[in-house]
Amino acid sequence: MKPFDIVIVGGGGAGLYAAMEAMKTNPALNIAVLSKVYPNRSHTSAAQGGANAALGNKAKDDTVEMHIFDTIKGSDYLADQDAVDVLCSEAPKIIRELENMGTPWSRLEDNTIAQRPFGGAGRPRCCYCSDKTGHTILQTLYEQCLRKGVIFFNEYFALNLSVSGSCSNGLIAMNMKTGKVEAFPAKTVILATGGYAKMYWNRSSNAAGNTGDGQAIAYRAGIPMKDMEFVQFHPTGLRKSGLLVTEGARGEGGYLLNKDGERFMARYAPEKMELGPRDLVSRSLETEILQGRGFDSPAGKYLHLDLTHLGADLIKSRLPQIREMSMNFEGVDPIEEPIPVRPTAHYSMGGIDTDNQTRTIMDGVYAAGECGCVSVHGANRLGGNSLLDILVFGRIAGRTAAEEAGKFRPGTISEAELNEQLQEVRGGMQASGRYERYGELREELGQTLALNVGIFRESSLLQKGIEDIAELKERFKKVRIFDTSDVFNTNLMQVLELKNMLDLAETVAAGAFAREESRGSHTRIDFPVRDDAKWHKHTLTTLVNGKVTLGEKPVTMGRYELQERTY
């Protein structure tokens, strides 16, 4: 294949914006977008709430400065303040840009883009399109990319970067339709593969494919990960699938009940009750379960989200989506019965370490979106800030790569290297004797992470988690791939995803073990307070000689001094 100027891995919001911006910056460039699913299927489509921007449409006195402050405070002061400046200052422009291209935003009475209040924000600045914001943003970007003739390689699974010394030669990927391993020699590569929260498997709200592939690819190439221990949990995931029951259910007056029928939030947030901040409510649910007040089931312990007292009319008119979800995925009609819920891993703050221009330490390799970590979310991201993140930094990645592509030469990727990858990938098909099932390993990984590297962390638990992950990695060597065909081998794809999750899980656990403090989403029972003197810094995890190696990076401060985070 002839070399590309830019290869973008990922067709979510970040990847598509990067592609558009790169074409705009330099139309002469040869650009490709690879995606393991059709771009419109990417997980960006799951975002319901909206994207933050201080447009001042709803609250006239809202300012970019307030947005900046809310974000820094929300991050528990771990975000880099110069990066947050970029995020929030670009926000109004990028939301309008999307609007100008055709995104169907909901409207206010004066016909401007509608905005609503969202957690942790001082003003209503979350721009939305009904409850399908991510979906409509993704549609718009995909449509515009088709209009501009972006070259897509759909259903291609990225395997690894090809690296010579400290330089990238390009990307190696498998064409799912043929099973062939193909070379994408390229001057620059942008990794935009989304988050890694699916490693918590059934305790995650994420799509099955949010397995951190891009992060794992970078990690194996020696690029550092940043702040991987920060994983955000949402309080109400469905018990069986981890899928999200949005805050709306509690907003309308739903109760959280334990097995004694008690509204237990009275113990943790007597005033706000069910409507306390996300991390607090998550911790409360987890405490109830840990102290034995949860319900038992083979699918795990859980609590009740009770809407029955709201009545059929209200549920049907205001919460139809939630009712549908609960019937579809739990077989429970919330008009008649409470919904079984428990906290669910929702968003990964950590990711590939980049600078404000999305550059990684490797020449010609960039990362953006949930896959990268600039960092704008620090220890905790605010609702509505991640859609914004993928747009703003997706665009910066596209522009930077387009401007810098001229500096690099595409390397060559040899047949031998492709062959080696193919052999490695298909290795599991020859497994003989005692073998392991990927489904079980995946389930066990999710369980140990939820239990030992979950909402509450503690030295001995984390130690156990680290051991479990090491053991699972050992067992993975004997994993069996049952489907031996070349054409659309989803069995093989799932095994490759499991490998990526195992590689990354190590960095999450290592980061969590090292960080002896509680900050944002990271709660250590044995170190319950934030320790700025020792830990006001980013964690780096790098693969050196096959081992996770810890490092650190200072937080860029600015106008805002450290303060206690209270709401």
Binding site: G209, E330, R480, D486, V487
Partner: protein
């Protein structure tokens, strides 16, 4: 082994999933494999397939991603009807199953088969491109990001429902025209075309419409409503199709294409006889020679296959035709007036 169960389970049912299998590398033709597993209430078809893949046969191939009914990956035919596997409850399907205890799972129709339950979506994307399913903004690129278009709630509501489409292709699979003509535009693409054409930010209405009125376009639809009935997001697709047709007649005139002429002939029939004169409709639309060459052979085939009854050669007017005619004229007048005032 069984699927994870509730503590207060109301029992399980043994369900046989009869799964369509085809691997182009080894199979010369498709076949079905049966997998019987116990399933409790609350389990979806997708979870059952996942279970089969993880525990019984790792080679069963299907797509799935969000598992929450939002990405459109997992559409397939369950007991003959195209739908999302991840939002379809096994027990619900069982209750309506013709063969007790058996659920048949097959790939979507009207798209090329790749393997087992996986079909190729590229033709659909190709059509989205062909019919410019995007907004070509009236605002020059260099100006973008500076200010918003002001858009009324009323305009937003015109395309709100259409933007629910997740491109799952269930409607594509159910479309009766696509079965005979793979080049047909497809219901989802018509829906998207409509969504773009009623957006005031768009600048390429005419070009898009020029494609839509050609062969395989908006006039080929037979109004069978199957697409709308099968839409997984309950989108009124037919409103979009009608909207496009009205738009076509309005913006391009009645005698623009055979399609618009057909629509006119249709109206004339109804006015004169109170019903359609099916046998002569094609002749009036396309001319005698065309009809003999193109439609008669197919019509004969359809009659032989009992897909369509023999058209009566002479159509009598329905009873009360006089009153009907007056009403009909009044109605058309009304509609015309309405459209005029709408334009102002």
């Amino acid at each position: 082994m069984t699927l994870p169960t509730d503590q207060h389970t109301e029992g399980k049912k043994n369900v046989t999933f009869r799964v369509f299998r085809f691997n182009p590398q080894v199979d010369s033709k498709p076949y079905f494999d049966d997998y019987t597993i116990p399933v409790e209430r609350g389990i979806t078809v997708l979870r059952s397939l996942n279970y089969i893949k993880e525990h019984i046969d790792g080679s069963v191939s299907f797509r799935a991603f969000c598992q929450a009914g939002i990405c459109g990956s997992c559409s397939m035919r369950v007991n003959g009807l195209s739908q999302l596997a991840c939002t379809t409850q096994v027990w619900d399907v069982l209750a309506k199953s013709r063969e007790p205890g058996i659920i048949k799972v097959e790939p979507l129709r009207n798209l090329p088969l790749i393997k087992d339950l996986i079909v190729d979506m590229d033709p659909l994307v190709g059509k989205m491109v062909h019919y410019s399913n995007w907004i070509d903004s009236t605002m020059p690129e260099a100006q973008m990001g500076k200010k918003e278009f002001l858009i009324s709630e009323e305009e937003f509501l015109r395309y709100d429902k259409a933007t629910d489409c997740i491109l799952c292709a269930s409607c594509v699979s159910e479309c009766s025209i696509l079965r005979a003509n793979k080049e047909y535009v497809s219901p989802a693409v018509l829906l998207k075309s409509y969504r773009m054409s009623v957006d005031s930010r768009d600048s390429m209405h005419e070009q898009r419409m020029a494609e839509l009125v050609k062969d395989h376009g908006v006039w080929d639809c037979t109004h069978c409503y199957r697409c709308q009935e099968s839409c997984v997001k309950s989108i009124p697709i037919m409103d979009a199709i009608h909207g496009l047709r009205e738009d076509a007649i309005e913006s391009r005139g009645k005698n623009d294409t055979s399609g618009s002429k057909h629509a006119e002939a249709f109206m004339t029939d109804i006015e004169k006889k109170g019903k359609l004169i099916e046998a002569t409709l094609p002749i009036r639309t396309n001319g005698v020679v065309w009809t003999l060459q193109n439609l008669l052979p197919m019509a004969m085939k359809m009659i032989m296959k009992r897909r369509t009854p023999l058209p009566p050669p002479l159509v009598k007017s329905v009873k009360g035709i006089k009153i009907f005619r007056t009403m009909f004229r009044e109605m058309t007048e009304h509609v015309k007036q309405d459209q005029k005032s709408h334009k102002k």
